[in-house]
């Protein structure tokens, strides 16, 4: 390993981070436009063509907003909380492969940040960190709505986390590895969503809760908690929460596409490796569209009902899914 390698990775990291940030900006636009269309409205279309400059205008506006820190707040935690929320959202994507590798400037560049052997465990570990950020934000604001939001996010976490973890055991069983790259390669012929429909659905629902999206957006339930955990946040710190939510939305869509929809796999990827990122991108967009669609459609579930759903429906299903998958794998592959 030399300095050049390190630079390569630094550049790759910056590239990925910029990509995720840009992705965040344009997912907000996509969401607003799609929601508007679904609601017989037009949506933002004034800033730039099709409103394409809207996210930039929003960012500029947010930067110039006054930052308020409530007098009663725990200042340090109040500032740290958005950072804690946004970093895990960013670094989950580190283990997602975008393709095998491409040749650029005479170097063989792997299309992922890292190819670790316990990738899935890494994903699981990192995703649960961001709940700390939310809980801390809610607590440190010293605001009642925020505190409710923060506490709800913990409640939410303990109701879907188990099902989420178990839903990923299926692909691991089928691929025989926790390495994300191996899992993608194992889906060369058939995406795991077809082999693991129950796991796929449980994953999808659990991640909706994970990213606090409708119908599981209890921590920021506007109707009762005004804005939930980020009630007191303004300006850039608010934007960071917003960013974390959308980046996480993209990240779980990427993970989901990788684990269940074959990741960057698609026709002719072997011949043309640059197609890999395109396929992954397409799958992610479809996934995000479904997320937005659900937001436009479903009422919010109440959080005791979510707990019941998580524990009494999703967890048993996920457990049975692992059980049945295990037996089927034994029957089909064991000597």
């Amino acid at each position: 390993m030399d300095a050049g390698m390190i630079w390569e990775w630094i550049i790759k990291s910056i590239f990925l981070i910029l990509f995720m940030t840009g992705g965040f900006a344009y997912v907000t636009l996509l969401e607003r436009r799609v929601l508007a269309r679904m609601q017989v409205r037009i949506g933002p279309n004034r800033v730039g063509k099709f409103g394409l400059l809207q996210p930039i205008a929003d960012a500029v506006k947010l930067i110039f907003k006054e930052e308020l820190i409530p007098a009663g707040a725990d200042k340090l935690m109040f500032i740290v909380a958005p950072v804690i929320t946004v970093i895990p959202a960013l670094i989950i994507t580190g283990v997602i492969p975008w393709g095998t590798s491409i040749n650029l400037f005479g170097r063989e560049i792997a299309l992922s940040i890292a190819n670790v052997n316990v990738g899935v465990l890494y994903i699981m570990a990192v995703t649960s960190i961001s709940v700390y950020g939310i809980t801390l934000a809610g607590w440190s604001s010293n605001n009642k709505y925020a505190m409710f939001g923060g506490l709800r996010s913990t409640a939410q976490m303990i109701s879907y986390e188990l099902a989420l973890g178990l839903s990923l055991v299926g692909p691991i069983l089928l691929a025989g590895s926790m390495n994300v790259m191996d899992i993608v390669q194992a889906q060369k012929t058939l995406p795991f969503a077809l082999l693991q429909p129950a796991g796929f659905i449980v994953y999808f629902m659990a991640t909706l809760a994970e990213i606090n999206r409708a119908p599981f957006d209890m921590p920021e339930a506007e109707q009762e908690l005004t804005a939930g955990y980020h009630t007191e946040y303004s300006s850039m710190k608010f934007a960071l929460f917003f960013m974390a939510e959308y980046i996480k939305m993209i990240a779980v869509a990427m993970i989901g596409s990788t684990m269940f929809l074959g990741g960057f796999q698609g026709p002719f990827v072997d011949q043309l490796p640059w197609l890999g990122p395109v396929y992954l991108f397409g799958k992610v967009i479809v996934w995000l569209f479904v997320d937005i669609w659900i937001r436009a459609t479903l009422p919010r579930i109440r959080y005791d009902k979510l707990m019941a759903l998580g524990w009494k429906v999703m967890y048993p299903i996920a457990l049975l899914n692992v059980f049945i998958t295990g037996i089927l794998v034994v029957l089909t592959t064991k000597r």
Binding site: L35, Q223, L225
Partner: protein, 579 residues
């Protein structure tokens, strides 16, 4: 209850109380009974328990300054239908104390507080007699005839010209601000500390701690600046975890003393003013006010006008119920989609209103003795298209996407339950009352206009929960469509206004109460005229204000998330609540 009292109780009522403390009200133009205040409770209990007047619809008071007394007026009904039982208590102005009826009719709670607040009549035995629309610490009782507002000009309109001889005069110069400003004794605006809040907070119920862990209660203000209180409305909630221990609604942020202003106005000037009450259902408000005044004037409305009136009232109902269900979904957390789809048809109805009255929301369409403009055949055709095509299609969409939606059902079923007895006792009206299984609809219970010729069903629910309120509203849209179809079929041609249009109407002295089944419940106007061009007393029975009495009983024991939905299912409009 004997059969005799069921059939014709009111004529012989005075004989039932031989000791003489119940008298017929024999002032010209007045009706009902005058009860001595010492016996009010006894009388009310007899009426409720033995005569079946279980529904206390309205409590108000009027100030007879010249005679030096207040009349406290009660309107009670039977939920099986029939005319009102009107009883009054007369008290001298200097000793304005009346026994409270809250113990008998919990629905009197807010209304008695309102009378105390605006009229200054104390209700002895009321559990929580605080001001309700004005703030605690306000000096005076604004509906009293001798109370004057800071910019008081004259007692009644029309005021003196503001540009005498062509020169404008600034009203502020005529009435400097300080002239009528009243402060309590010892009040210093600079050093004022709101004490009323502590009174409010300490009034909340607490839980008794008998659980494993000792946990604290949290008092949270939901509102006035809250995204889902449908306006500036405030609920003070005490919470144990996410469970609601007690709730107190606080209102009056939008209070403008509608009734005082209306008493300064002339009779006709009040017609557009009623639009501003519940600004989503101006036609129904007009309707009730027109009925009240017409009763006093003894006007007969031409048939075509009656048809048009009912047509507009039913379109208003359709519109309002779409609005209510759409925004109920919003309160449940659907991000606007359902509400925007729901108000698509509302827009078309508003187009029709605009075409006939010139305004989409503040219609000011009714006149005493009819309506102001005729409805053209084109508009009728448009309405025809709406009720035969667009609205049924929208209702089918509702059924397909909402009625059996899993999340909607789990969030709404069994939440905010009000039993039939509670609903009656709390004087709720409209869809809330009917969702609790009480088939009480003014259109049937006490038919007005041409409703007795129309065929429609009174929709009731079985469980009295939010889901039933939703179902009742949707079904009521269907019934309204049925009514509109009949109206379109039968509408006669002819005049639309009795007599000549006039700016100044002559209203004989007396009292009257006109009520209609508004979309949100019984909308009523209590009018007292003294023969002059301005009403002596003008009181609005605001359905959502009274329906809010049921908010706290419905919310106790539910979760925070449910309160918003419970409030949404009451379907309040703050313009009417705060008046």
């Amino acid at each position: 209850m004997t059969e005799a009292t069921l059939i014709n109780p009111l004529d012989t009522l005075v004989d039932q109380f031989p000791s003489g403390w119940v008298k017929k009200d024999e002032r010209p133009g007045y009706s009902g009974f005058i009860v001595e205040r010492e016996h009010l409770l006894e009388f009310a209990r007899t009426m409720r328990d033995d005569f079946g007047f279980d529904y206390l619809s309205m409590v108000t008071a009027s100030d007879y300054l010249a005679e030096g007394k207040f009349d406290v007026v009660y309107y009670a009904y039977k939920t099986i239908g029939g005319p009102a039982l009107i009883f009054k208590v007369q008290v001298p102005r200097e000793d304005a104390v009346v026994p409270s009826l809250v113990a008998l009719y919990p629905g009197a709670d807010f209304q008695e507080r309102e009378v105390w607040d605006l009229m200054g009549i104390r209700f002895e035995g009321h559990p929580d007699l605080r001001r309700i629309l004005m703030w605690e610490g306000f000096e005076g009782h604004p509906l009293r005839k001798d109370w004057k507002e800071p910019f008081y000009e004259e007692d009644v309109k029309p005021y003196k010209s503001r540009w005498p001889e062509g020169k404008p005069v600034n009203a502020d110069d005529r009435n400097p601000f300080n002239d009528n400003v009243q402060y309590p004794t010892g009040f210093d605006p600079e050093r004022w500390v709101p004490e009323a809040e502590t009174l409010l907070y300490s009034g909340l119920q607490r839980t008794t701690h008998n659980e494993e862990f000792k946990t604290d209660e949290l008092i949270v203000n939901m509102g006035p600046q809250h995204p889902s209180t449908h306006g500036v409305f405030r609920m003070v909630v005490s919470l144990q975890g996410e469970k609601i221990v007690d709730l107190k609604p606080v209102m009056g942020y939008l209070h403008r003393n509608h009734e005082k202003i209306a008493e300064r106005n002339t009779f006709l000037q009040n017609m557009p003013f009623t639009d501003r009450l519940d600004y989503t259902t101006s036609m129904s408000n007009n309707f009730a006010y027109a009925l009240a005044v017409e009763k006093l004037m003894g006007l007969q409305v031409p048939e075509r006008a009656d048809y048009i009136r009912v047509l507009m009232a039913e379109l208003t109902r359709i519109m309002n119920h779409f609005f209510a269900t759409g925004f109920l979904l919003n309160d449940l957390g659907v991000y606007f989609t359902a509400s925007l789809y729901a108000i698509e048809e509302r827009e078309l109805i508003l187009d029709i209103f605009e075409e006939i009255s010139g305004s989409r929301m503040m219609c000011n369409y009714f006149r005493f003795g009819g309506v102001v403009r005729d409805v053209s055949d084109e508009v009728l055709k448009k309405i025809h298209n709406l009720v035969y095509d667009r609205i049924p299609r929208k209702l089918d969409q509702f059924d397909a996407y909402l009625t059996n939606n899993e999340i909607l059902r789990t969030r709404c079923e069994g939440v905010g339950v009000l039993t039939a007895d509670q609903a009656i006792a709390l004087s709720t009206a409209g869809p809330i009352l009917r969702a609790s299984g009480v088939p009480y609809d003014v259109r049937r219970a006490d038919p007005y206009s041409i409703y007795d010729r129309l065929e429609f069903d009174v929709i009731t629910g079985n469980h009295g929960d939010i889901y039933d309120r939703y179902l009742v509203r949707v079904a009521e849209i269907k019934e309204s469509i049925k009514i509109v179809k009949q109206l379109l079929r039968d509408i006669p041609s002819g005049p639309i206004l009795a007599g000549k249009p006039a700016y100044q109407v002559r209203v004989p002295a007396g009292e009257s109460y006109g009520r209609v089944e508004g979309p949100k419940g019984e909308m009523g106007f209590y009018i007292v005229s003294n023969g002059k061009p301005n009403p002596e007393r003008y009181h609005v029975r605001a359905p959502t204000f009274i329906n809010l009495t049921s908010l706290a009983p419905m919310s106790r024991g539910e979760k925070v998330a449910d309160v918003v939905v419970i409030l949404g299912a009451i379907d309040i409009v703050l313009g009417e609540v705060d008046r």
